[in-house]
């Protein structure tokens, strides 16, 4: 049974239609990440699940019970906020114990639960301190501790790592994943960061403009995006999009770029694209599927290109090229390219390429 079921959910702020008909089922114990650009309605959706915002249409069910008219306190959820939402006038201990005490948990039980949660998050030495005496990472651990101690049915995270610096964010990301594995609770996590979404999620729900653009396992979305938006959103650097025409040459499909360069498409993967022959398409190819020309093999297309910009990251190097009239990025081995101005022969792994209908923006 689904732990959370949302049916036909709409939400307006005045004339502003923020959530536009969301249908979503989240099974018990799953880690779901709502991801999308800011303003796509993901936080509003989360807040509606929490009961902090009302909905204008549709139903929300938690464990089979419709909760539209249920107060947040009676929904049996716990939530971690972006700005931690710790009470500055309480010690760490009291902050973590707050929810239990409000619910009239016996003092001895409060004590053991708080201590257990603190140990789990390695903050047991901080219990007597006040929030102002803690670092960002410690604050976030306390905020998580406050949620964990509640043993709620549903855990909600509203961009909990956005206020942390990069290194700490990586560390806490791992921590949250480990916590999910230990607790096995249903968790819904909102972020705009696609790396957080990819690494944490059992399932990604990618939102755009108040609707679900696509949902599924992270790798499913990454490898088989349904739309150009999804393809472009997941992955860093982002997927390259090159305008092209689908042609049929020598018994197989190929794409012809604006510069006249023709790249053969492997069979039988693109058989279904037959109806697009002689029509405009967009070729989508991820930077990591471009490489310096090596051994020729089936599905690899080659192209000669001029390096325009080089961005070494240490382990890999991102290089910008002009290809078929578009600027594309290739993720190459660290020493594959030294500086801008070099000419390079690129191999394009067409087995991993996608074709997009330019009018519907759907993947063919």
């Amino acid at each position: 049974m689904a732990d959370l079921k949302i049916t036909g959910l709409h939400k307006y702020y005045g004339d502003n239609h923020v959530v536009k008909g969301i249908d979503l089922e989240i099974p018990a114990g799953e880690f779901t990440v709502l991801v999308g650009q800011s303003g796509c309605g993901k936080s509003t959706l989360l807040r509606t699940i929490a009961g902090l915002e009302g909905s204008d249409q549709g139903t929300i069910e938690i464990a089979g019970q419709t909760v539209n008219d249920v107060q947040p306190k009676d929904r049996d959820i716990a939530m971690v906020f972006q700005n931690y939402a710790l009470y500055p006038y309480m010690t760490v201990y009291d902050n973590i114990a707050f929810g239990l005490r409000v619910r009239k948990t016996p003092a001895s039980e409060v004590d053991s639960k708080v201590k257990r949660a603190a140990e789990m998050l390695a903050i047991d030495h901080l219990l007597k301190r006040f929030p102002r005496q803690l670092s960002g990472g410690q604050l976030q651990r306390v905020a998580i501790g406050r949620a964990v101690v509640r043993n709620a049915r549903l855990y909600l995270f509203d961009e909990p790592l956005s206020n942390l610096d990069a290194q700490l964010r990586d560390e806490m990301r791992g921590e949250i994943k480990r916590l999910h594995q230990e607790l096995g609770k249903t968790m819904i996590y909102v972020t705009h960061d696609q790396i957080e979404a990819m690494t944490l999620a059992d399932r990604i729900v990618l939102m755009r403009d108040g609707k679900i653009e696509q949902q599924g396992a992270p790798l499913q979305l990454f490898e088989r995006p349904a739309t150009r938006y999804v393809a472009g959103f997941l992955g860093s650097p982002a997927m390259n999009f090159i305008p092209a025409t689908l042609v049929h040459e020598q018994g197989r499909h190929a794409v012809k770029l604006a510069t006249g360069l023709t790249l053969a498409l492997p069979q039988p993967r693109f058989e279904a694209a037959g109806s697009y022959v002689d029509k405009q398409v967009i070729l989508g190819i991820r930077p990591e599927h471009l490489s310096r020309r090596g051994i020729a093999r089936e599905g690899l297309a080659n192209a000669d290109a001029l390096v325009e910009l080089v961005q070494p990251t240490g382990s890999r190097t991102f290089a910008e090229f002009k290809l078929g009239g578009a600027t594309i990025v290739a993720e190459l081995e660290a020493h594959d390219v030294q500086r801008a101005g070099e000419r390079l022969e690129l191999s394009i792994d067409m087995n991993r390429a996608i074709l997009i209908d330019p009018t519907t923006e759907k993947v063919i």
Partner: protein, 277 residues
């Protein structure tokens, strides 16, 4: 090195001297009031002035208690305390509603504060007639309610600012953790704006404590406040300076004590308000 050190200590001395001079300047009237309250009538009028009375005339105070005049300080205390508690309670709840639910749209709060600007003299006589009709002249309830009504706009305005400064997520987190709205106000909003609460309460109390016009018109003998009582000592033939001074000292003490105890909150509360604008 030595030079800078010497210059620094000189600056310190000058600063201390200036601060002392200013403090003395402002403390002098209070000192003089206290001195008069312990002097004999002759000492008050003597020239050159007597800086320190030959013997402290506690009798000036004893008379106030013996004649029952000191009860007016008690009246003031009851009226100011009750109206402060009422105004703070009602005002904070109103302010919460304005801050969090946008009650009355964008302009209700401006309208509320505009009520505070009405000159008391313009409303005191209509209120007097109303009170005569209600039988509230010279009663605690009448004067307490009036002070409460008069202070409410100020309380609402100040508290709205303090409440708006509290991050919403703190309240939301409490709601999810199991609190009702009332519990949120009690467990989160009050502690979060404690400094603002105390600062506002002190100003409200001081207003009620020092108020004169309403008390003059709306009290007779039963609930006379000390401010009105002081004026009784100014006579057509002579002024009873010792009584005036002693009564004024009695009237100054409660506010003085309140401010001393709440100074920490007062300073923080005022500066919070200053940042908010």
């Amino acid at each position: 090195m030595m030079k800078t050190k010497r210059r620094q200590s000189l600056r310190q001395v000058l600063r201390f001297a200036a601060a002392s001079a200013i403090t003395l300047f402002f403390l002098f009237p209070i000192y003089w009031l206290f001195m008069i309250s312990f002097k004999t009538a002759d000492e008050i009028y003597s020239y050159p002035p007597v800086w320190w009375p030959a013997s402290l005339q506690f009798n000036n105070y004893a008379v106030l208690f013996k004649d029952g005049d000191a009860i007016t300080v008690w009246n003031s205390l009851i009226i100011a305390s009750a109206s402060t508690v009422l105004a703070m309670l009602l005002g904070t709840i109103c302010a919460y509603s304005l801050a969090r639910y946008k009650t009355g749209g964008d302009h209700l709060s401006n309208w509320i504060i505009s009520q505070r600007m009405a000159p008391p003299i313009a409303v005191v006589f209509p209120i007097f007639l109303l009170y005569v009709y209600l039988g509230w002249v010279d009663t605690y309830i009448g004067i307490i309610l009036l002070y409460t009504a008069f202070n409410l706009p100020y309380v609402i305005w100040m508290m709205r600012g303090y409440i708006q400064d509290i991050p919403r997520s703190l309240e939301e987190s409490a709601l999810i953790d199991g609190c009702t709205r009332w519990q949120v106000i009690w467990k989160v909003v009050f502690p979060m704006c404690r400094a603002g609460l105390f600062a506002t309460a002190i100003f409200t109390f001081v207003f009620a404590w020092n108020e004169f016009l309403f008390a003059l018109v709306l009290t007779r003998t039963e609930v006379t406040t000390y401010t009105v009582q002081v004026t009784h000592y100014f006579g057509g033939q002579s002024n009873f300076w010792t009584k005036i001074a002693a009564m004024s000292v009695l009237g100054t003490l409660p506010v003085f004590i309140a401010v001393v105890f709440m100074q920490r909150y007062l300073v923080r509360g005022i500066s919070l308000g200053a940042v908010k604008g």
